[in-house]
């Protein structure tokens, strides 16, 4: 991991959708008042850009390489379909079928084919958009409507991380591949939740996933004065710090509706976000130290990454 404080990567995730990831991601990027990369990896519904007056906007098409089989060269050996983890190739009656919508574009089948019967064709899945807003460098993925394959686009967005300034990643909701892809390799994950039955249920799932990833985490409770579903009790039990509580505010909601950040709606949140970020830096540094100790005790074989 990079030195904390210099180029830390914080992922904002939630489990449940609509809890306030965008509010927190954009608010934090604004509040830091320093050069920062804000990556919107919620590629099915990127919306951070709606709260930023972006300049110098440019976009690049994104596609993934999918296999095309030359049936004249194919001997139906089945190596390609046997290799594919995602069942994007199937061998039926001496013929290979390709399922583009299942293909992750890894290129493995092309390499493994002993007859060189497979060539690759680019299949567009979306685009990457770049722009800046003050000290915020914003990059987001925009997946084509109806496109099921989000992870390759998310990975491409994350390749824009320079390591030279702090990174804030707005992750997709849920706990499936897109969320894991967005959060992976972050130094810290901030989980935004609400104190409702669905908020708690999905938080529990997100915590389980992040636990498996050995990811240090903290919680933000949004609309914290609404609902009583035991989010705080759960966090206490799991020893996860609650780093910020945002009570319901009509002002924040009204400003959000016209594309203004929480820190413009209620300026006291600037300080609160900065304080929260300082705590995250401390916790990420502690987590790194622990990992170093663990790896040293294990014979200095390096961290888990």
């Amino acid at each position: 991991m990079p030195d904390p404080g210099e180029s830390m990567t914080v992922a904002i995730a939630s489990g449940k959708g609509g809890t306030g990831k965008t509010t927190v991601a954009v608010g934090l990027a604004n509040a830091l008042e320093r050069d920062v990369q804000l990556l919107d990896c919620d590629v099915e519904e990127p919306n951070d850009h709606l709260f930023l007056s972006l300049e110098g906007i440019r976009s690049v098409e994104h596609s993934i390489p999918v296999p095309r089989v030359n049936q004249d060269l194919c001997t139906a050996c089945g190596k390609c379909s046997g290799f594919c983890e995602f069942n994007a190739l199937a061998l039926l009656k001496d013929r290979v079928l390709v399922f583009d919508n299942l293909c992750h574009g890894c290129g493995g089948c092309t390499i493994i084919c002993p007859e060189q019967a497979i060539r690759e064709e680019d299949r567009p899945t979306g685009r990457i958009v770049y722009g800046t807003c003050g000290r915020i460098e914003h990059i987001y993925g925009d997946l084509n409507t109806g496109e099921p394959m989000a992870p390759p686009l998310i990975r491409t967005v994350k390749r824009e991380i320079t390591g030279k300034k702090p990174v804030i990643i707005d992750s997709p909701p849920g706990t499936t591949c897109p969320m894991v892809t967005a959060v992976k390799d972050a130094d810290f994950c901030l989980l935004v939740t609400e104190n409702t039955p669905f908020g708690l249920h999905d938080l529990e799932m997100a915590v389980e996933v992040l636990g498996d990833m050995e990811m240090p985490m903290g919680v933000v409770i949004n609309r914290s004065d609404i609902g009583k579903s035991g989010v705080k009790e759960f966090c206490r039990e799991k020893n996860i710090p609650i780093l910020l509580e945002i009570p319901y505010s009509r002002t924040i909601a009204e400003k959000y509706a016209v594309g203004l950040s929480i820190v413009d709606a209620e300026p006291q949140y600037r300080r609160k976000f900065v304080e929260m970020y300082a705590k995250i830096e401390e916790m990420a540094a502690e987590a790194t130290e622990k990992q170093v100790e663990v790896s040293e005790n294990a014979g200095g074989a390096g961290g888990h990454r």
Partner: protein, 119 residues
């Protein structure tokens, strides 16, 4: 001829499983010998493309007819390429479904009956 029925259990009295790729068991019925055999669906918990895997397996076993609830587009394309006919909306017990099929009560589909279901 071998008929494959997607099943919720491993008895002739078990109900038809409406899911194709993620059904609990496969029942293979041989119309020539009137024999039933059952197999647990090892693909049921797979991440994606289980309809394709299931269709591939059925083609290897030389299944000619599938009785199930619904089939998605990936599964249908695989079965079609394997020369397997699909009879959707089967229900009741395995035995009842086989009886209904042999009695001509089910009709074959010429396309997928629903969208692909992801894990």
């Amino acid at each position: 001829m071998i008929i494959c029925i997607t099943a919720q259990g491993k008895e002739k009295s078990s109900r038809v499983d409406p899911r194709f790729g993620r059904c609990a068991y496969f029942c293979f019925y041989n119309t020539d010998t009137d024999e039933y055999s059952f197999e647990k669906n090892a693909f049921a918990g797979g991440v994606g493309g289980v309809g394709v895997q299931t269709g591939e397996m059925m083609a290897r076993k030389e299944v000619k007819v599938v009785l199930t609830g619904q089939v998605g587009p990936n599964a249908y394309r695989t079965l079609e390429a394997g020369g397997i006919e699909v009879y959707p909306n089967a229900d009741g017990t395995i035995e009842e479904a086989v009886g209904a099929f042999l009695g001509g009560q089910y009709s074959k589909t010429s396309g997928p009956t629903g969208p692909a279901r992801h894990a």
